[in-house]
Amino acid sequence: MSFASVLFALFLPAVLLGDLLLQGRPRARKTFLLLASYVFYGSWDARFLLLIAFSTGVDWFVGGRLAEDRPDRERRRLLALSLAANLGLLGVFKYCDWFLDSLNRLLALGGLGPLPLAHLILPVGISFYTFQTLSYTIDLYRRRIRPARSLLDFALFVAFFPQLVAGPIVRASEFLPQLERMRRPRPEDAARGLYAVLAGLVLKIVVADTFGARAVDPYYADVEAYGLLGSVLAHHFYAFQVYGDFAGYSLIAIGCARMLGFRLPVNFRAPYAARSMAELLRRWHISLTTWLRDYLYLPLGGSRGGPWRAARNLSLTMFLGGLWHGAAWHFAVWGLFLGVVLVGSSLREARSGPPRPGFLRAARDIFLTFHLWVLTGVWFRSPDAATAFRVYSTWTRLDGPLFEPWLLVMLAAVWAGHLAAPRLHPWLEERFVRAPAEVRGAVLVLVLGLLAAIQAGAQPFIYFQF
């Protein structure tokens, strides 16, 4: 059940209505939301529910014991159990076939026969809820949070449907206190939530799907037909396709949660308006980058031990972050490439201090940063290394087609909207929230009509595959 589907458009009002009828009964509300979340997740494949139940059960068990006063050695064992269970799940379902395939290539070099692949289905959202539950046990191990009050609270924290499948990755410290309070949603939450949902759908269907179907897919179907300009433009489209897809999903998730009275963290802050790669990653998929920072980069040593050690830790973190996005070597190369670029950017930031003011300087920095992102993005989109190299090889030519003029006009409009987003977005939101509810309903129909006019068969969210 994708957010951009009619089924979800029926599911969400049903959940809102159920939640509304149960106001004043917190336990019943939580039970209802948990059941709704399982229905949502089970709509992909009911078997996935077993995995989420397993993950929930293990971390509830581990969390309960970590909260008790136990010797450090035992606490370490409990944490290891949680890590092994969650990363084991991820390893089996996400990386098993990739590992076996890579091994088979090595074996083939030695003339040995291939090992059979497992051909397991990748359960949607497994990378997200695994990281979410891990944050719970790690934070408990570090004694930074209190345990969930009940299994119901913990199960709902893991499975809460708005962010279950593609984030934002919510920390227990952010969500469990909200479950303890179970605040009643107010009319303002309804308005702000609806705005976020509509904005997210527009980003997903108008920007991401249009750019994907009309520019990126045709480009990748025949990369060699294009020259430098066509290729760079294709990657501008791709950059906004990924942004629209994932930021769109995050906004819908934030909006749905808000309508139910919950707050989820902001996940994107106009990343392409960043003036350095380090800043771009601070604005991009914030819940993942901060997760990687807190649970991987800092435990590796962070920036302690000098610039070379910091560079190593950063590169390793980004390499693993790349692999988190997908079990394929091109994602690993993308992560590593991004890590190297980020090291350079961080060193430069450390040497020259924060960016200096000035319109032209800002424009130059944004231009350079975005094109570094584009340079690395080739590895993210290319299905394999050979395609990525083919893309780069076309950058020596100036010939080749561009894109239809209306697409270029739309790209320019999206760029302008993105750069103006920090002011435009709150302004629009305030207008929407302050408007009478009837006007908001009318806007809803107009936006749905726009989505129906554009939608040429719903495209799956890119981040579902992660």
Partner: protein, 349 residues
């Protein structure tokens, strides 16, 4: 409860806007203006509604009718014979499912009563269990909300989904006009399509192209025919379920009633099926279908069986297993037109 009140007011605004935009799209004819080439055939509806009065003859059917030449040739012949311009409109649309024909039937009578209503009636066309994209078009463009909601558990979810999206067809149509601003070339293409529909009265092939095609010696495209044969099973699956007694019945009864009330002569004709498919069709299917149609349509309606013609047509007359090429369609017209001419002479003026 303030929250409940907020949601109810939001819902009220949504319903009002949906009604307003739907009515606006209907009144302007924008409902049928869209950007999908496959749906372009629906443009004929608003163009038809622009006419001052009803034509002499209206054809209803699927792509076989839309791409056929019978309507075009009948108009030529009648005009020559009568010595005055006579109008024959072709309201054939892709899919030709029962509910699409219901809508087309309503539109056919919107300008008064034609003297003859000629309806293509091959069993599979009116089969609502079909799974090809044409059926999705029906749910996207035609299905009324009550039909979408009733029996939603009894059909593929994708169809219901399209039917529900249709509730905002007005807003969708309004946005579609915006696309013409972004893509002037598209607007030009649609303007030409509208012009063609207006000039050719819904027939896909312009008059000159038909005449030229009929004169041109055809050569068999072996590769195309082989591809069509490879898809035989898929085609057969569309024909065999034979759901005539299901969705068809209500539509046919509605058409019969309209014709009766308006004094229009109803003609149901079974178009030819290519020999390859005929061999594979269950025995007795055609006869059962013809008998059933006659029973539902009553004695006033004329049922014409042109199916046997399929045995005389070879690969040179088809461009796939379903659709006749211009030459095949010319032969079909040669069989059909004399009978229609006779019926038209008998029909009240």
């Amino acid at each position: 409860m303030p929250l409940l009140r907020t949601w109810l007011r939001t819902l009220l605004g949504a319903v009002l806007m949906a009604l307003l935009t739907n009515a606006a799209a209907e009144a302007t004819g924008w409902r049928w203006r869209n950007t999908s080439d496959r749906d372009q055939g629906y443009l004929v509806f608003p163009v038809y509604r622009e006419q001052a009065r009803s034509p002499e003859v209206v054809f209803l059917g699927s792509s076989l009718t839309r791409w056929g030449v019978q309507a075009r040739l009948l108009e030529e012949e009648l005009s020559l014979r009568e010595g005055r311009p006579l109008e024959v409109w072709n309201l054939g649309v892709h899919g030709g499912t029962a509910p699409q024909l219901r809508e087309a039937g309503r539109i056919a009578f919107s300008k008064g009563a034609p003297r003859l209503l000629v309806v293509e009636a091959r069993p599979g066309f009116w089969n609502e269990r079909r799974t090809d994209p044409s059926v999705l078009f029906y749910w996207r463009w035609f299905a009324p909300l009550d039909e979408t909601l009733l029996g939603l558990l009894d059909r593929p979810w994708a169809w219901t989904e399209e039917g529900l999206v249709r509730a905002v067809f007005g807003a969708r149509a309004l946005w579609r006009q915006g696309q013409f601003l972004l893509q002037p070339a598209l607007a030009e293409r649609w303007r030409k399509a509208e012009l063609l529909d207006r000039e050719e009265r819904g027939s896909f092939w312009p008059r000159l192209a038909v005449l030229e095609a009929l004169r041109r010696p055809e050569t068999v495209d072996e590769a195309l025919w082989a591809r069509a044969l490879a898809r035989k099973e898929e085609r057969l699956a569309l024909l065999q379920p034979f759901a005539s007694g299901h969705a068809w019945r209500g539509v046919l009864e509605e058409l019969v009633e309209r014709c009766r009330a308006a004094g229009t002569r109803l003609v149901l004709f079974l178009p030819p099926v290519s020999g390859v498919l005929q061999e594979a069709m269950p025995p007795g299917l055609r006869e059962a279908h013809l008998a059933w149609m006659q029973e539902v349509a009553g004695p006033e309606a004329v049922v014409l069986d042109l199916d046997p013609l399929g045995r005389r047509l070879g690969p040179a007359h088809w461009f796939d297993l379903d659709h006749l090429n211009a030459r095949g369609a010319g032969i079909l017209s040669g069989e059909l037109l004399p009978r229609l001419r006779g019926l038209l002479e008998e029909a009240p003026r």
